[in-house]
Symmetry: C2
Subunit: 184 residues, 2 copies
């Protein structure tokens, strides 16, 4: 990362106390008391997230593999790029390779890190590392049978049209694909 151009003001909030509110199978919810820059106190509620990866799998220079799956919170099916959570201690690249194989059955010869983004900065620590995967080989037997999703090849041109007209509205997918379009 380039030097971060800090501005003169320091708005750092200092932790006064921290408690775990809930620890479920997925969510780890914390509530901290903080001291604001003006000396007052405030409550901060947020999710501790171990991080995730997302993969843009290029079947050829003009076609990607997307996933069609159901996401419960908004009760919708989405077109997404493959993605998943890091296991504890798992490096991001290994996690991306594992997720691509489990979800799509593809192995990739060439991997390239695009960028890493903070997903929900006001209430989650989640960071997603984005990769481009090329040189794909399909091995159906390696695919996880328990994944409820369908993989579908989508021309990049079509994907960008779907972003523009709102058919693709998953933010990680939009951010990753538009990053690729803008910066390659």
């Amino acid at each position: 990362m380039a030097d971060f151009p800090k501005l003169p003001h320091d708005f750092t909030e200092h932790t006064l106390s921290s408690e775990q509110i809930f620890k479920g199978v997925l969510l780890d919810v914390r509530r901290d008391m903080v001291r604001l820059p003006n000396g007052k106190t405030a409550t901060r509620e947020f999710i501790i997230h171990n991080g995730a990866t997302a993969v843009i799998p290029l079947l050829d220079k003009e076609t990607i593999i997307m996933e069609y799956q159901f996401r419960y919170p908004n009760h919708q099916h989405y077109y997404e790029i493959p993605a998943g959570k890091l296991e504890v201690g798992e490096p991001a690249l290994e996690s991306a390779q594992r997720e691509l194989l489990e979800e799509t059955g593809y192995v990739a010869a060439n991997w390239r890190h695009l960028t890493t983004l903070d997903m929900c900065i006001s209430y989650s620590t989640e960071q997603i590392a984005f990769f481009v995967a090329e040189g794909l080989t399909f091995d159906a037997h390696k695919r996880d049978e328990e994944e409820f999703l369908e993989t579908v090849p989508v021309p990049l041109k079509q994907a960008y049209q779907w972003i523009e007209n709102g058919v693709i509205n998953d933010t990680k997918t939009v951010a990753g694909l538009l990053w690729l379009k803008a910066f390659g």
Copy 2:
């Protein structure tokens, strides 16, 4: 939105039970039991979010107003576009106008909806409506004194460089600005 190209498979998860785990000043956490497509059951934990807006304020055709502020979950200062949560029952456009004024002191003559994105589809219902605001007029007295942030004019060209090299890594900001770059 265009017709959603549904694929043959239906992966809908049906709600069996639903309970509120935590309701704080910010987070509303739910845990549902669901029936999976294969008949098995699973737990879904997620955040109920009332929605938000984000604004790209164009000072002129080549310059935007950004905010520099501290976000507690990752303990970092970020460069962001103005954004905020909807109040209950508040229309998205009104919310965007209110947030822009409270956070930056600017009123805009022209508003245009860009897109609406689902931010964290695996564990939050949050949807952000993105707007472009033009024809800006500054009124310092309308700015909320309790906002701990600094506003800074940033050339769009500079903002895109900062996205490319990772200085700007807030996903809503990246997605919104790259959407503007790709589709105008």
